[in-house]
Symmetry: C2
Subunit: 438 residues, 2 copies
């Protein structure tokens, strides 16, 4: 802290989010000082190139020496909005080692190596806040970390990627195909030229890992998350969902799996997965439109909660960074620190085969008597119980649509393999999970 | 703090919420200790009657001496779940004066006398947390107090009363009338035998006052809130709303009113009101069903956020109390305290006449030419601009439905008075505000 009592912030990165952080630090200076008790002062901004025009940023603050900035004596708080693993990880670790509080918006880093970062924060007694890393401006991590600490979270079910939600919403409301909806999203700036991270579910998987760590106090990395993207979702799938009173969403799901004997409050592990699934239109997540995000939390006492808002964008993300800045600055002023993350529960991440959910299976079948009996026998053989069956079309267009009760993924996979081998099944047209109705 | 390092809690009240708090303190003891750093110990429970059976509560902890409990040397934290103004206010003030941190679930008290309580908390350096006072388990006050502190809130729009939402939802989905829906809500336990506090909007007004204080850092009391209940909402109003693609909800609205010249970020005051209003079905609040609560927040940088969950009930409310308990206990362990509430912005609450919104007006009119011209002239004379007009029925059933652009409430009231005086208007059948579509 400076002699005058101000706290000094070092900013790593000055892209869309960083520029907004600089603007808010300037425009909200009086409010921030009132709420923290001392003024916040921007001490330096580390960038890769000094010659790029950065309107609103004092050129004298710019430096290419990021390591120098995070270890500078007068810096109290480091804000990391670079993204990616390196050099972000090295800088964040160096900052905490030098006694700085750190705020990060970096989902990739938190999901790749949260345990190392949490360990360093504990070792050096440093605050590490990262509200902006999941669901932009939506205050979500703080409620999980602080409001629900006296509760017991069973499940987190979220729409955490705006690009894919925009694409699926267009497919649902306008009957667009995936390629057409993706192109529109790219034209409007909702999707990148290379949309892989979004449409293949990598972005959502990183966020799912961060949410699972927090909700279950267990180590979960992005690589542990079962991941399926939305590129295979077809207009026919959307129509099937509509026929069932459902809508297709890309969901990030983090769930405790109970022990087989029902004993033990922690369950035998956690299931963390990202895939497109049908959810009933009456579910609160179903009405999350366009590029919005929302996360649904089920806790023992609190019941069902949902948090909704803009999941990305410079201003919303910067708003989340500012909220964290006030918290860590207040901690600095009080000579204390916020709650540390721990993975004390140490629940294992279970393989996808042990995940239990419901399924919607669509089969192209021969149009003759006895088909349903054979198909039903195949489900039964693998212990998968059928909730509803519907026949559609006839002759060469005959289809069976089967919705199952809850079953584990391994049994369903075995069922699908068995169905493919039946003479009377011409093609397994689609398999989609059904969530949010239990 | 005890020599062994535990923190001791004194509980005021042992009804539905208090009993749940006792249960959670026992069942979650290990988790709470892990997160706080020291165990929480229940030191005493103040009740009115000692002879009532209280399963799960150690009878040795019970006392009728509430004043003695809140000033006892070994008590660190006081949890107040009595409700009402007195004796709760005296006990909370005595506790803070004695250096105890206080957690209250008491919306009436916070809305009646927040400023006195905030002032006492500042004077005595005591924590005062009250997450459970608004919207039950939904983490809402903490995000407003802490996550959005670096942002600038424009508007809070909420469904904060579960009873009235249940009634309106039944009227909307089953075409029930108000009386019928109220009776059903009473049978199911969603409404009290004397439903006045809910259906006349008193409960929602208290919560609106608390939200406005927090969002705008200004003193707002329940008595300052413009309040209209739902007893006049008719099946015809619901049908009109449906015809417009809207649904009727009892809304608590807290809003900055900009200065006439558009200058000044704080605006010239705040409008705080509770009334039934139409909102578009596409609005996230429209899909809040049954007795659920949800609060929509518009902030400058964060954009649109929504918080959804169970607004009442023993377990959800106790979950919110436990979240506060962990926060204040951590503060005690660290020898610090949380952010104090202030009303530094001191914005005035504006009279209802200065509130600006849109209106849906339904008139029984004579079925002859020239009617629309006369009606339109009356709106125009008071500066209220018409967005849409629709004629329904004919002859003795002829009705005009008018939807206005944004206008102030005084101008609309003058318009309605003028319309009532016109020969061709037989009756002003209904006037309802339209929210959530700007």
């Amino acid at each position: 802290m400076k002699p005058g009592g101000a706290l000094t912030v070092g900013l790593l990165g000055c892209g869309v989010v960083g520029t907004e952080v600089v603007r808010l630090l300037r425009e909200q200076a009086d409010d921030l000082a009132a709420r923290i008790g001392v003024p916040l002062h921007l001490g330096g901004v580390a960038v890769r190139r000094l010659d790029k025009p950065r309107p609103g940023v004092d050129p004298d603050l710019l430096t290419t020496d990021a390591v120098g900035l995070v270890t500078r004596d007068d810096i109290d708080i480091v804000v990391e909005v670079i993204g990616g693993i390196e050099p972000a990880r090295g800088l964040v670790l160096a900052a905490m080692k030098a006694g700085k509080a750190v705020i990060s918006a970096n989902k990739a880093l938190l999901a790749e190596d949260g345990e190392t970062l949490f360990g360093a924060a504990r070792e050096y007694g440093a605050d590490l806040y990262y509200e902006a890393s999941v669901a932009g401006a939506i205050p979500l991590l703080r409620p999980l970390r602080e409001s629900l600490v006296g509760d017991h979270v069973h499940k987190v079910l979220g729409i955490v990627n705006g690009t894919t939600n925009y694409i699926l919403d267009q497919m649902d409301t306008h009957g667009a195909g995936f390629t057409e909806a993706l192109e529109e999203a790219q034209t409007l700036g909702y999707a990148e030229a290379d949309p892989t991270a979004d449409v293949e579910g990598f972005d959502a998987a990183a966020k799912a890992a961060i949410l699972a760590q927090l909700a279950f106090h267990s180590p979960v990395r992005a690589a542990d998350v079962h991941r399926e993207g939305i590129t295979e979702v077809s207009a026919a799938d959307m129509a099937s969902a509509q026929a069932m009173g459902c809508v297709v969403k890309l969901l990030a799901i983090c769930e405790r799996v109970p022990a087989a004997d029902g004993n033990g409050r922690n369950g035998r592990g956690v299931s963390v997965r990202v895939y497109p699934a049908m959810i009933p239109r009456s579910h609160p997540l179903a009405s999350v439109r366009e590029a919005y995000n929302a996360v649904f939390v089920e806790a023992e006492s609190a019941g069902r909660l949902m948090f909704y808002g803009a999941g990305a964008g410079g201003a919303p993300t910067a708003s989340a960074v500012l909220g964290d800045l006030v918290a860590v600055a207040r901690n600095k002023v009080n000579g204390t620190r916020g709650p540390a993350e721990t993975t004390y529960a140490a629940l294992p991440v279970l393989p996808m085969g042990e995940t239990i959910t419901r399924y919607h299976v669509q089969l192209d079948v021969a149009d003759r008597s006895g088909v349903l009996a054979q198909v039903a026998e195949e489900f039964s053989r693998h212990g998968v119980s059928i909730q509803a069956v519907r026949q559609e079309g006839h002759g060469d267009d005959a289809q069976l649509v089967i919705v199952t009760h809850r079953a584990d993924d391994a049994a369903l996979a075995a069922t699908v393999a068995g169905l493919s081998g039946l003479d009377i099944v011409r093609n397994v047209a689609s398999v989609m999970r059904v969530e949010g109705d239990d």
